[in-house]
């Protein structure tokens, strides 16, 4: 009979998901909201079929499904925390570990979310915030099922083969990992490891030659895992949570029944230190994310407040959003000097160009919908379609007088869970364009739209392009002339604003 103290010691680690939930909602609400804006889940058979075109498709599909709940950051974080609780229970049961040790993967999965930084915009794994959690949970469940099977009729060996055959298409490398974990502590000493090695090597190869045509041969063993390579640059640190998680699972599978308490505590402390260290503390990124969310709500003064409260030197993305907020308040020329200028480079291990982050929305707000549309299309193709892009493309199409194109994007957004009311609102503009004149956002953009056309390119350098665009001719409206006057002094030094 356990004492209350022992019970408490056993249950206390289950507070870890709760703490993670609190930390996420308190510190990363804007990150989570932006994560769902940079994701898309459509409730359609076609969306499912497209996800299933690659190994691990079910996992990424489910990851995308859950990501949409970050629309309400607390709701999405609660789902993550619930999954983490389930994972802890499964890990304790499967590997017969103390909940304290089972909380370590939760910390690592939390780190996978909070350390992502600018990968938010560039990672090509759909549903990447949920996929590792779902994958790890599934992995633990499969290993538990394997260990629970009766040993006769070679059932465990058959289960290994079946897990690889069915699991690889649906769950990708997580199914392979589960099979490896089964083989590490086999039920049948010879047959199971042999079956596991053969299955893990052969099934992805077989799938490559018969099922899939969208995964290169060198990636077939890593499906449903993120690839932290951008423009040829590898971000090795970004793999740390995943590598640690893999190591944890291997050690857990091999671990003896009784692990000394001091070792458990040491491991947990080291992990927590890693989480604190690895958590992305970039104040500028967080302010960019907050300002982007405020921009969506046309909250100009809160945007300026967010900018003003920055402790260090701001990024150009922040400065441009500040300029936009001031322009909307009619105070650009008079009040911009009240704010500090900043040239801080985004803290990412690769060059970050604004056109891939907040630039698309800014192009629209500054009255160049064609360039907003262009970068939405480019990024949708390159990094996967997002709710943000479909919303921006709807607005661009409405402004450009392309109702059929707007209808296409609106129709897609109507198949989402949380953007359908937005879609219905803008669908009304398709049927009655005159309503656009009453929309505050369109009313503010309209005077910035220029009639003259230039065939040119921004070369992914948004700010020098904007300076040239505004300063090269005064424009016709009062707002265009104000921007021209403002940007004229910047013209000869515009390349100073080029992003590296």
């Amino acid at each position: 009979m356990k004492t209350d103290g022992q019970q408490l010691t056993r249950l206390l680690p289950y507070a870890a998901p709760l703490l993670a939930f609190l930390a996420l909602t308190a510190l990363e609400a804007d990150l989570l909201w932006n994560v769902q804006e940079q994701s898309l889940f459509l409730h359609t058979p076609l969306f499912f079929r497209q996800a299933m075109l690659a190994s691990g498709g079910l996992l990424t599909w489910a990851g995308c499904y859950l990501t949409q709940f970050f629309f309400y950051p607390a709701l999405g974080a609660a789902l993550l925390a619930l999954l983490w609780t389930l994972l802890m229970m499964l890990l304790s049961k499967t590997f017969r570990l103390s909940p304290l040790l089972a909380s370590i993967p939760v910390a690592l999965l939390l780190l996978a979310v909070t350390a992502q930084g600018y990968w938010l915009y560039f990672l090509k794994l759909p549903g990447h915030c949920f996929v590792p959690t779902l994958g790890a949970t599934l992995c633990a469940a499969l290993v538990w099922a394997y260990r629970s099977l009766p040993p006769h009729h070679h059932l465990p060996t058959l289960f290994i083969v079946l897990t690889t055959l069915v699991g690889y298409p649906l769950f990708g490398s997580y199914a392979l990992a589960a099979v490896v974990l089964m083989a590490v502590k086999p039920r049948h000493r010879l047959a199971d490891p042999l079956a596991a090695v053969l299955a893990v090597v052969a099934v992805p190869l077989l799938s490559y030659h018969t099922l899939y045509h969208a995964t290169p041969l060198e990636n077939i063993y890593w499906t449903a895992l993120p690839i932290f390579v951008h423009n040829g640059m590898v971000d090795a640190w970004a793999y740390a949570p995943y590598a640690s998680l893999t190591a944890w699972f291997l050690l857990a599978a091999l671990a003896p029944r009784h692990i000394p308490a001091w070792l458990q505590t040491t491991l947990l402390v080291l992990t927590l230190a890693g989480v604190v260290r690895g958590w992305n503390h970039d104040d500028n990124l967080h302010r960019e994310l907050t300002m982007r969310r405020q921009l969506e709500q046309q909250q100009w003064q809160p945007m300026l407040d967010t900018f003003s409260q920055a402790s260090g030197e701001s990024t150009r993305a922040m400065c441009l959003m500040r300029n936009l907020a001031l322009q909307r308040q009619g105070r650009l020329s008079t009040h911009v000097n009240n704010f500090r200028e900043g040239f801080s480079r985004p803290q990412a291990p690769f060059p970050v160009h604004m056109v891939h982050t907040v630039g698309k929305a800014l192009y629209l707000q500054f009255g160049i919908p064609n360039y907003c549309y262009r970068w939405c299309m480019e990024d949708g193709v390159e990094y996967g379609w997002t709710a943000e892009e479909l919303k921006l493309m709807t607005k661009c199409s409405l402004i450009n007088g392309e109702p059929a194109a707007a209808q296409r994007y609106v129709s897609l957004l109507k198949k989402t869970l949380f953007h359908r009311s937005w879609a219905r609102h803008y669908e009304a503009y398709i049927h009655r364009p005159s309503l656009m004149a009453q929309d505050a956002e369109f009313r503010a953009i309209a005077p910035l739209l220029r009639q003259d056309d230039f065939l040119t390119s921004d070369q992914s350098q948004m700010e020098p392009f904007l300076i040239e665009h505004f300063a090269s001719s005064p424009g016709e409206t009062q707002q265009q002339q104000e921007l021209a006057r403002f940007y004229l002094p910047y013209y000869f030094n515009r390349f100073k604003y080029a992003e590296q």
């Binding site: 058979p45 099922l211 040829g232 299309m377 296409r408 129709s411 897609l412 003259d452 040119t456």
Partner: protein, 504 residues
Amino acid sequence: MKGFSSLLLHLFLLCTVLASCRQSIPAQYAQADVLPKLYPDYADVTVPVNIAPLCFEVFNQADAALTRFSAAGEELLCSGLKVRPDVETWHRLLAVARGGEVSVEVFLKKDGRWTRMKPFAISVSPDSIDPWLCYRLIAPSYVSYEQLTINQRCLENFTEQVIADNMLCSNESGGQCINCHSFQQGNPDRMQLHARHAHGGTLIAYDGVLQKLLMQHDSLLSAPVYPAWHPSMPLIAYSCNKTLQGFHTSDINKIEVFDAQSSLVLYDVQKHEVSTIERLPDEMATFPTWSPDGNSLYYCSAHFAYQSDSIDLEELSLRTKELHYAIFRRPFHPATRSFGPREQVVPLPADGDSLAPDFSSTLPRISPDGRWLLYTQGSYGSFHIWHRDADLWLSDLTTGHSRPLAECNSPQAESYHAWSSNGRWIVFSSRRHDGVFTRPYFAHIDADGNASKPFELPQADPDLHLQLLKSYNVPELMRRPVTITPQQFAAKLKEQGTTITYQR
């Protein structure tokens, strides 16, 4: 996994079809005098006798719907707002309607009362169409490309297969663009496609031999781009293009793709030799195509003299609207593999002199009987898929008379096109639905050059084309499917490749 998800989908569709096609026509209904709102719009179209079911979606407000297809005593009923006839039953219906019509009646139920919408007909031409269509599925992006595939689709049912997938040769350090699939007379055993960037080269399949060729050469303007297989000889005419892009700040067309220079070359598939056909100063020749007898090469050429001393890209971007392409032809002598002098075909010169057009004609394609020249015309430039004013035009080569193919045109861009092997059908790219995403359309062309109302490529789920954020690029008809797998193409691309020689 495609197989698994396809199995699920087919089971689902089978259940839906079985459940949906067991209704009976309501005994009482009101008659409406308007057509139902359909996507795709299949009202009063003409279809080949071997086409897949014309599935469509009814967009009228209704609680229930019932559709009756009938011809010569045969009928087919489908319930629901998504109308998806079974493939076998559909083909039985078309067989009895061959040369006649299938009548389509849509009944809609609202507030407990049925209404019969104005019926329409689908004319069933006895002229069949080549059973396979090849196209590239690509998002209409401007610079970026990620997942793009060259696919083949059976037009008699809904089978779609990937021929080549660029992702098999791509990674985060280097992507690959596959493009310009082309076949000799619709023969899938004689085909070519290009791959650019990672593992770049040209793949040529010729009677069972697949080769990778490295076609860049110092004597060429660029690696060959737009291909045209000679109808019978192992020759491919190519244009070499130095292509640029610019982005409009306000124009609704948004993007401009144009050549700074271009020329024509001839490639011998068996000898791996390339020679120049035409490279003239101040002339940009592109988009070659052969006459069906192989005795003439048609192509487009624009006269453009740079005011600067050299090729000035800024000047070109300012003067893009001065790029007006005319269609020319040069006789080809198979014995010597030489070409005669060029002769302007469109616009037809009035007095033998070259006529500088104030519009631009591109993508010439000659009908198999040699009489009709189908081409795309826009106000300027060569990349007409980005020009909303681009339309299909048809020229009678026996009289020289050209006319817009109004039956097929729309306010949006019509561009790439191809003839069926019997010359009775054309397939063409159109952005008519929303101005953004290209879909393939088919139209019947009779002996006098009259076109029927075009119809969109039918899909098992009519919603597909509304959701798919990709364009169908370069639709080409084929007699049979390609049997080389995407993995075989990828493996070949990863090889070194054979270099070509230049024949002066």
